[in-house]
Subunit: 440 residues, 2 copies
């Protein structure tokens, strides 16, 4: 779907009830509420097992110790912590972030880091700095849902490049770039989540990384590498970051939302100096500065807490949940269903037999007291109708087993319907369906 | 200066050193670093009395009690506080914000409130939702410097309307709106800081408020009412908000940055329901959600702390500082200088005799160990060269007296130069000069 097409919808929908409708900027017309939000409100009832949300399990943190830590920040550094800060972020925290990134094999200096309100804000600032209406942004297919929304909010023309189990297809990426050049269109960047991708759970292999970087450098296109899950690896060996082989052509996004807490909103971008300077100016006009309080809390956490051990604790917990989900899927899923087997992160991507619509099935699933995110939300072009994202991060192993059991009940019901009446796919619809990130 | 003109500068400046310069969005070219930043870095040395920054004096908070409060949030509500939240903000906090706004005479429901990263983010989201490139935004002259930057970052054509001691001139506002209509141009909103304005320290009178609302409603133009200082009143009676007489045509911005702490970044917008819905979608793509941690800290503060008494404590302190500055200016300023006498807030606006350039004088002032913000930063069109903003919020009364003494020394030196060589005004320059908000 083109950005232009997307713009047409909400103005028509809203014109009868909103007296301000003629006043909005063109970009506001790309800001569309989720079609499935209402259903998710039902899905958040306690009796429903949610395999939908991407919430980390922060209860695994030692909250009493963390409480003492935040108290010390206020009583010992309160005058600084409660004051304005700089738009680039606290210098000591940026140094600690560089240390943190060495675990990913990244060598960086604090001056190239900007602290952001989660890595989501970094993505927003990058889009703001680079994307004019109609500019092309390339992403994996499927891709992170709120990235699609952010690109749409700046009127980008989001185009997808297919993935297989080794990651994005470099030949298709090459063709997409060549095609855009041939049409005289500008590709502003290729956005990728190379590790345990949200939503597909796929990790780009080392060989693919080399080829992707070769293609992007040959076409002189920036890469935005979003890596929130990199340290949450349960099997296998880490792959090298794209940043480390990017020759200044990669903007790297990191986050503590999954390895510490999303409620503190500490993410960052690591960018070439002139880009970083633009991002800082954009951040200043976006919010003056991030919370100094949160930055000093995280600064103290990274300097006084055994945070590497804490990540191991998280990994042991998530690994068990991942195993539980994969085992349950293998044991129970009907013939014809497939799913990915992530080496880390939070998500499994499951695909139903041809012709079964995961979005149309969602009301039945919620009736069975299980929720997931339909695959269409992760595409800008209406694909993904037979797929769904299943999260194993938040529910307990017992809930995961029960959730898969209920999900299988819903799928079998849908397959029966399908066998009786043919396809359950409704007429084509367009637009992304945003799942709220805070779904339990 | 038109938005187009502003765009031309940085591309020319940066093209020799930035390999990414051809890739930026057009709007990024309106993101320009401050010309006076380097000087402010010098000005932040401890021997310099800074009358430049707008930092509240958070040390007046009882930090030990506040430390206990944040510890309780983590140990008692940590699982929620450290988790993702909704893009609109915590519902209980939004209810408390409605209670808080009753002190300003506003009646509102929590559903019309969105919690933002300071009111700066609210202003950014509003601009994002309403402003297409070239759209006109009207502001007071002078106006809040980062508002100018935010409007420029979305390629607005920012135009000013004069103020006198009673606030903005409604007849000039009427003419500006009529002129835009005649030209077939769209005015997206009128941005105003009606109480103790930053930077001018002027409060709009009740009569002016009525006339301003009459003009804006007649021209069917939205008003954005930014009121961070409203409760910091040291003399006189509160004026009614524009929101309370706006008939759904006003977006109101509030903040706890000045009455509690800017480091927590809790601001908000109160907007008509359809606009609020757009702002929530914009906030979601900008950052997913604000910090739940900070929201639950503030929620507990507003429910357990004697915060009305705390505001009285702040007011007693700031009132003394305001009095000290006004007394020192009256006693020491050379003939021909004028200044405003704010009834609240943080700022006095001083104007030097015709022909003396406050920006050109700044290096001399810093040599005299005093800093201020030159007036040109508060205009989009190069005006304000004889003026400066003087802050009394952060320095102690003793420092304020000494700062004014040093400032007067610098002005007298400049007046001597002026008497000998004529005007000190350099050739016209353009672009805003952003003071960092965190200057001490």
């Amino acid at each position: 779907m083109s950005a232009d097409h997307r713009e047409q919808q909400p103005a028509q929908q809203g014109s009868r009830i909103d007296p301000h409708v003629g006043r909005y900027a063109h970009r506001a017309q790309g800001m569309v509420a989720s079609e499935v939000r209402a259903l998710f409100a039902v899905a958040s009832r306690p009796e429903v097992v949610s395999l939908a949300g991407g919430m980390p399990n922060v209860s695994a943190l030692p909250l009493d110790q963390f409480g003492d830590l935040v108290k010390d920040v206020v009583s010992q550094e309160g005058a600084a912590a409660l004051q304005y800060g700089s738009a680039q972020g606290d210098p000591v925290l940026r140094e600690q972030i560089c240390d943190y990134m060495t675990l990913e094999g990244i060598t960086a200096v604090p001056d190239d880091v900007i602290v952001t309100v989660g890595s989501q804000q970094a993505l927003d600032l990058i889009t703001r700095v680079f994307v004019d209406p109609g500019d092309i942004v390339l992403t994996e297919a499927p891709t992170y849902v709120t990235a699609i929304n952010t690109f749409a909010a700046f009127q980008a023309d989001t185009r997808h490049v297919s993935m297989d189990e080794h990651g994005v297809d470099p030949d298709e990426l090459d063709r997409a770039l060549t095609e855009a050049e041939r049409q005289g269109q500008r590709v502003k960047f290729f956005y990728t989540v190379p590790n345990f991708q949200n939503p597909a759970g796929i990790t780009m292999t080392a060989e693919r990384r080399t080829r992707v970087m070769e293609v992007c450098q040959r076409h002189d296109v920036l890469v935005v590498e979003d890596n929130p899950y990199g340290l949450l690896r349960y099997d296998g060996e880490p792959e090298p970051t794209l940043y480390s082989q990017g020759n200044g052509n990669v903007i790297y996004l990191g986050s503590l939302s999954k390895t510490l807490s999303p409620g503190l909103r500490i993410g960052w971008a690591l960018a070439p100096a002139p880009v970083r300077a633009k991002l800082v100016l954009a951040a200043e006009s976006a919010m003056l500065s991030h919370s100094t309080f949160n930055q000093l809390v995280v600064r103290r956490y990274l300097s006084t807490f055994p945070w590497r051990e804490q990540i191991k604790t998280f990994n042991a917990m998530y690994s068990e949940r991942r195993d539980t989900m994969l085992t349950a899927l293998s044991a129970m899923m009907p013939k014809g269903c497939t799913w990915t087997e992530p080496e880390g992160g939070f998500f499994v991507w499951a695909t139903l037999p041809e012709g079964v619509d995961a979005k149309a099935m969602l009301p039945r699933a919620v009736t069975e007291r299980v929720a997931y995110v339909p695959g269409t939300g992760f595409y800008a072009d209406g694909r993904g109708r037979s797929s769904m994202r299943l999260s194993f991060c938040y529910p307990t192993p017992e809930q995961i087993r029960e959730g898969v059991r209920r999900l299988v009940g819903a799928i079998e019901g849908e397959l029966d319907l399908h066998a009786t009446f043919g396809t359950t796919l409704p007429p084509s619809t367009q637009g992304s369906q945003t799942p709220a990130p805070d779904l339990p």
